[in-house]
């Protein structure tokens, strides 16, 4: 330890020590960017104010599951507000809110303060950087998608009279829960990250993400209005409805409230629409980061 801070010059100079320890290379680098991305997504290491939206969204997303479980335990099997199929549609609005607030935290700062050359002169490629950020935001979104569904699952099993039998009955839904959660997380994260990366400023990015989902939802509702005969188009204006359709296509089970039921189009179309959303988002990201001058 130094005896005192020295504005006057070095007092104890122990000399330069070289580093002989392990170097984790590209994987270590990606791992670091993912971890710091998740921290940024939850406002960790920041002021309390930056934690309000992400943690608030996590709590709100889990609240219906908590209530559903409580009702099941206290009252029994009489009402079922939420099940695995309609849950993510029900809390859907929280995903864009979370992503609008947090996706810019992951990418805008690095771009605005010109830190990217320092990243790209380390053992990663530009693509590694973008993928790490995508993974970070997707993992963070699992707190809003997977966590409540698992809560619902655990609650249903524990509330049953015969836990072992209930576990046997319910265990089959796990792959669907995980798959559906991942689907929502990855697609919403990709859209949010792409818009943030091209927006350049946090406020613009947040506004643009919200606008996309809000406008999409409004258009979807207008198209779905009875009497217009456009119900088949309605879900495709809203990314969350596209995701719900894809969920139904992959894992089955309709959500009564979503426009997917009324649309009555082949479900694989939702899969195509999801693929288009992903391709657009990833293409935008690739273009944007190729243009970063170092």
């Amino acid at each position: 330890m130094r005896a005192s801070p020295e504005p006057t010059g070095t007092i104890y100079d122990i000399g330069y020590r070289s580093y002989e320890g392990p170097r984790l290379g590209r994987r270590g680098a990606i791992d670091t960017i993912v971890r710091s991305g998740v921290r940024a997504a939850f406002g960790m290491g920041r002021s309390g104010r930056s934690k309000v939206i992400p943690w608030g969204a996590v709590v709100l997303a889990a609240l219906p599951a908590g209530i559903a479980v409580a009702i099941r335990v206290l009252v029994g099997d009489i009402v079922e507000l939420y099940n695995y199929d309609n849950y993510l549609w029900g809390i859907g609005a929280l995903l864009p809110i979370f992503v609008a607030a947090q996706a810019p935290e992951l990418v805008v700062n690095d771009m605005r303060s010109n830190v990217l050359p320092l990243y790209f002169s380390r053992p990663i490629s530009r693509r590694d950087y973008v993928i790490a950020k995508l993974v970070a935001l997707s993992l963070s979104l699992l707190a809003l998608t997977l966590l409540p569904l698992l809560l619902l699952f655990v609650g249903r099993v524990l509330a049953a009279e015969d836990i072992v039998t209930a576990l046997g009955d319910e265990i089959g839904v796990l792959p669907g829960i995980v798959g559906n959660s991942l689907l929502h997380a990855v697609v919403v994260a990709s859209i949010g990250l792409a818009i943030s990366a091209i927006s350049g400023r946090k406020a613009y990015a947040a506004g643009a993400v919200l606008a996309l989902f809000l406008v999409g939802s409004v258009i979807s509702q207008l198209l779905g209005a009875p009497g217009l005969g456009l119900e088949g188009l309605a879900p495709f204006a809203n990314p969350l409805a596209i995701l719900d359709g894809t969920r139904e296509w992959l894992f089955g089970g309709g959500a009564a409230e979503s426009p997917v039921g009324a649309a009555d189009v082949p479900l694989w179309l939702y899969g195509v629409a999801t693929a288009v959303l992903l391709a657009l988002s990833w293409g935008l990201l690739a273009l944007r980061y190729r243009r970063v001058t170092t």
Partner: protein, 324 residues
């Protein structure tokens, strides 16, 4: 095997600007000054070596690895301090440098330890816990240097490291670079258009101009003594030249001065290298010609760029020359 080697390396930017034009150079260990005018291709060369931009043509190898194919492996063992501002304003130096150490592949505990070490070496103490946004330019330059050093690279690339610093800050930065080259066991490549600075820190020079290699040699050879004696007199020196010629010495006028070729002097009996000085002095006294100076002429670093009117405008010689 040289540490860095390029073969016919060419970089043309879209829009037709040719930054590097068939550059072939080998660079070995040491503190290497990469000198050239603004726009000579220094930054472009560094960025290609780092794999940040692809070359249009030719080959570049670092640690005998191809920069195009083995970029990540090379970049694990090099450090880069870019020319321009590149720090996030809202995190502390400690946080930022430790993060960059981990992105370089260091495990967390090692990253933390080395961050403390390196920040102390670059001279950041209590202020390292404050957000970088409030730092002076000098402090920011130190953070940029620290993030380039933190993973103990084998090669350190510094692009105009004294950019924007006041004279005192520049002096400290140069001392730091000298120390890194001497004590840290790293090869340091310093790109600069300020010859005075390069002269102070480098032991080897790579001079490039308009994307070509101008010369690569030890610094000493750029400033070594020429084989000429420069003789300056107050009056016309022509009679002196005649006298010297009669003695078998080759002398020609350059401006008001005479240049005497030392090689043309007969070896003196006692091996005294000043024998020629004596001959010149005696003739001058004889002719009653007032002598201003007799001096062994040296090359100057600026001579390298002197005949290149476009380049010389931007390569600045004096130690205190400011950034153009």
């Amino acid at each position: 095997m040289p540490l860095i080697s390029t073969r016919a390396l060419t970089k043309r930017y879209p829009g037709g600007v040719t930054a590097l034009d068939g550059l072939t150079v080998d660079i070995d260990e040491g503190v290497i000054g990469l000198v050239g005018a603004n726009g000579a291709g220094k930054s472009t060369l560094l960025k290609i070596l780092l794999g940040l931009i692809p070359a249009t043509d030719g080959e570049a190898r670092v640690f005998d690895l191809d920069v195009g194919r083995d970029g990540p492996r090379i970049r694990a063992l090099v450090g880069y301090m870019p020319e321009h501002d590149s720090l996030p304003p809202d995190v502390s130096a400690t946080e930022f440098v430790a993060h960059m150490a981990r992105v370089s592949g260091l495990p967390t505990s090692a990253a933390r330890e080395r961050t403390a070490d390196v920040l102390r070496h670059v001279g950041l103490y209590e202020e390292r816990y404050r957000a970088i946004g409030g730092y002076s330019t000098g402090m920011k330059q130190r953070v940029k240097l620290a993030q380039a050093l933190v993973h103990d690279p084998r090669i350190l690339f510094l692009d105009e490291p004294t950019n924007g610093l006041d004279p005192a800050g520049r002096d400290e930065m140069l001392s730091l670079i000298e120390r890194i080259g001497r004590d840290f066991g790293m090869t340091v490549i310093v790109a600069s258009h300020l010859l005075g600075e390069i002269e102070r820190v480098a032991d080897w020079l790579v001079a490039i101009d308009e994307g070509h290699l101008l010369r690569t040699a030890p610094l000493g050879s750029f400033t070594e003594r020429t084989g000429q004696l420069i003789v300056e007199t107050e009056d016309d020196a022509a009679p002196l030249a005649e006298r010297l010629a009669a003695d078998g010495l080759t002398a020609r006028a350059e401006g008001r001065a005479l240049l005497v070729e030392l090689a043309s002097a007969p070896p003196s009996a006692d091996g005294n290298e000043y024998a020629v000085y004596d001959v010149v002095r005696d003739h001058a006294v004889d002719l009653g010609l007032p002598l201003v100076r007799i001096e062994h002429r040296r090359h100057r670093l600026e001579d390298l760029f002197r005949d290149r009117t476009d380049a010389s405008a931007a390569v600045e010689g004096g130690p205190d020359a400011s950034v153009a």
